[in-house]
């Protein structure tokens, strides 16, 4: 058991972080917290992915000492995928934050539930008038 945990420590931490981020994204009412949760979730996935590429004792995938032997370096694929992923996360974060700014300006709150209630009220007012 302990040895299993030791062997898969990165994976397990990634799973725990994923679940923490996931529940923050879904259940936090505060929009900023939701966005932080989103980022934690993404980092968890990247941690899992990057851990798959590392092999103990090997070097970073940049030519060193002129060795072109694949057994000298770690697997470069996960690094490339995570790089792509990081760009995606920062784009989505910027977009969500701008939406948060607009919603705060309009409804003066960061609580998504409260915003939705206010939206509904606004709609009813429109209908009455």
């Amino acid at each position: 058991m302990w040895e299993q945990i030791y062997n898969h420590f990165n994976d397990i931490v990634a799973a725990i972080l994923f679940v923490i981020g996931f529940s923050n994204l879904l259940f936090q009412k505060n929009l900023i917290k939701k966005i932080i949760g989103l980022n934690i979730m993404d980092v968890a996935i990247y941690l899992l992915l990057a851990s798959q590429g590392y092999i103990s004792g090997r070097l970073a995938p940049i030519l060193s000492g002129g060795s072109e032997n694949a057994a000298t370096y770690i697997n470069p694929i996960p690094s490339g995928l995570v790089l792509t992923g990081i760009v995606v996360s920062v784009s989505v974060t910027a977009l969500m934050l701008s939406m948060t700014i607009r919603l705060y300006r309009k409804y003066k709150t960061l609580d998504l539930d409260e915003i939705l209630i206010k939206v509904r009220k606004e709609k009813d007012n429109k209908e009455e008038s």
Partner: protein
């Protein structure tokens, strides 16, 4: 290598380049560029489909100088060609028909960005359709998500942004699940190319190793895609998003965006995990049950809401249920029926949104009871709306009927699935009849018409006097009205054509699905 094989790549790049150039253009030029690009893509896709239908095979296309497991590649066959045609048709017709909505509801200086987002969306959908690599699929899913968010919030009102943020939260949960599924799949197979994953998974399944892990991975990825396409328990964002955004956005979102994810799911089943392994995981049952619940609950919600556009949106929820039920039947006939329904529902639902935009104008909340007599005022829209409604109900002559027939047909000899599927189709059809006939009867009712006419006269005088309230430019011009009518009619004719001669389409889908794995 035939030159036609370049066409999938050309169509993606044309849309990307069009998106890029609209960034620097004014609104009129941007509209023209976007429409030309979409029309060009449509032509290319038609040629591609004819070509692949002739050869009866699919082909792969290297994106770069390196062959498949190393480089990226895309793959095209009949099925992909038909899906590409279908997305192009919907995007093009929605943009043309929605000219008035875009002009009056989107900020002048930001209209070119609307066309930009549409082009990016089309490019990403094409890439999703053609992709042969699961990570490429993920990247383009994200473009699709962001572009979808842009389509929803383009009006820039508080309500539309609130709808968009709800959509984003739900979609991001979906992408997260899909990405972690992809990562886990990479860690047990070491591949990203669909074909290679498929081979490794087949070996693993034969060994019996990782069986539980494979089930969990399959479930995660399926649930992720289902969340993004708005399957029942995750549909809460749909009504707001479809009802509040401008009309072409609603038409495109319901018609093609959610369908792109479902197509990727079908690819996942047939090309990544492999049908047999997927079946052994039991996720099909999950999809099937969720689909059936969605069919019923979507229709019930559509009856309960009194607003026209929300009703149409809930109807989408129930129709997505049909598609998932088709996939969940777990045989190739079911998949054919599901893809057939993806196409018919996309065409029908976008027609519903386009046609109903003449009744609702730019208002978000129009009640079904407000439609009284409008059928006489807008004969073309009312006729096409009726056609679309009949198609969704499953009236013979229309495409929706064929889709329901295929679905029912696929479920034969499938044990309990048969009773459940046919029962659900029957119940859902009755519910559909209830809410769509309410609309149709209201549309053609007498009584409200005189009043409407009077108020229209008043509006005209007001506008002529230059009184504020409704400025002159708010009313659709004659040209816009004609284009709107033509688009609606074209969609209705396509619908009728598929309904009368479904052979060609179902033949292409069946053959395309056969070369899928």
């Amino acid at each position: 290598m035939d030159f036609v094989m370049n066409f999938p790549f050309f169509s993606i790049m044309i849309c990307m380049l069009a998106a890029l150039s609209t960034f620097m253009l004014g609104r009129r030029a941007a509209a023209a560029v976007a429409k030309i690009a979409l029309a060009l893509t449509l032509v290319l896709s038609v040629i591609l489909t004819v070509y692949t239908h002739g050869t009866g095979e699919s082909f792969v296309y290297m994106m770069g100088h390196f062959p498949a497991p190393w480089g990226n590649e895309i793959r095209a066959g009949e099925l992909e060609g038909v899906m590409a045609i279908f997305t192009c048709v919907i995007a093009l017709l929605s943009l043309i028909a929605g000219k008035h909505s875009i002009r009056t509801q989107v900020d002048d200086t930001k209209q070119n960005l609307y066309y930009l987002i549409t082009c990016l969306m089309e490019a990403s959908l094409l890439a999703l359709i053609y992709t042969n690599d699961i990570f490429t699929g993920y990247v383009f899913i994200e473009i699709n998500t962001i572009a979808g968010c842009g389509l929803i919030m383009i009006k820039n009102s508080g309500r539309s942004i609130a709808a968009a943020i709800r959509y984003m939260v739900v979609s991001l949960v979906g992408s997260g699940l899909f990405l972690i599924g992809t990562t886990l799949l990479y860690s047990i197979t070491g591949h990203l190319l669909m074909q290679n994953i498929n081979e490794s998974v087949a070996v693993l399944a034969a060994d019996g190793s990782y069986s539980v892990t494979l089930t969990i991975i399959t479930a995660l990825m399926t649930v992720g895609l289902a969340i993004k396409s708005g399957l029942f328990p995750f549909h809460l964002w749909i009504p707001d998003a479809y009802a509040i955004s401008v009309m072409p956005s609603s038409a495109m979102l319901s018609g093609m965006v959610s369908k792109g994810y479902i197509f990727l799911l079908i690819k996942l089943i047939y090309r990544v995990i492999g049908f047999d392994v997927y079946k052994s995981t039991g996720v099909f049952d999950l999809i099937f049950i969720a689909g059936i619940v969605a069919m019923i609950m979507g229709s019930v919600a559509a009856i309960r809401t009194g607003f026209l556009r929300r009703m149409t949106a809930y109807s989408s929820v129930s129709q997505i249920g049909y598609i998932f039920m088709g996939i969940g039947i777990a045989n190739s006939l079911g998949a054919v029926a599901a893809i057939f329904h993806i196409i018919t529902h996309g065409l029908t639902k976008s027609l519903l949104f386009i046609a109903s935009s003449s009744f609702t104008g730019n208002k978000e909340d129009i009640k079904v009871s407000d439609l009284k007599g409008l059928g006489h005022k807008y004969p073309v829209s009312a006729a096409t709306f009726t056609a679309a409604a009949l198609s969704i109900i499953g009236f013979p002559l229309f495409a929706g009927f064929i889709a329901k027939m295929l679905l029912a047909n696929a479920s034969f000899d499938c044990g309990w699935r048969m009773y459940a599927a046919i029962g659900a189709i029957a119940v859902s059809t009755i519910l559909n009849v209830v809410y769509f006939f309410k609309c149709i009867i209201n549309l053609y009712a007498f009584g409200g018409f005189e009043e409407e006419k009077k108020s229209e006269g008043e509006e005209a005088t007001k506008a002529a006097a230059g009184d504020c309230g409704i400025s002159v430019s708010e009313a659709p011009t004659k040209c816009e009205k004609t284009l709107h009518g033509i688009c609606a009619t074209v969609l209705a004719i396509i619908n009728l054509y598929i309904g009368l001669a479904p052979g060609l389409l179902s033949d292409i889908i069946t053959k395309g699905l056969n070369v899928f794995d």
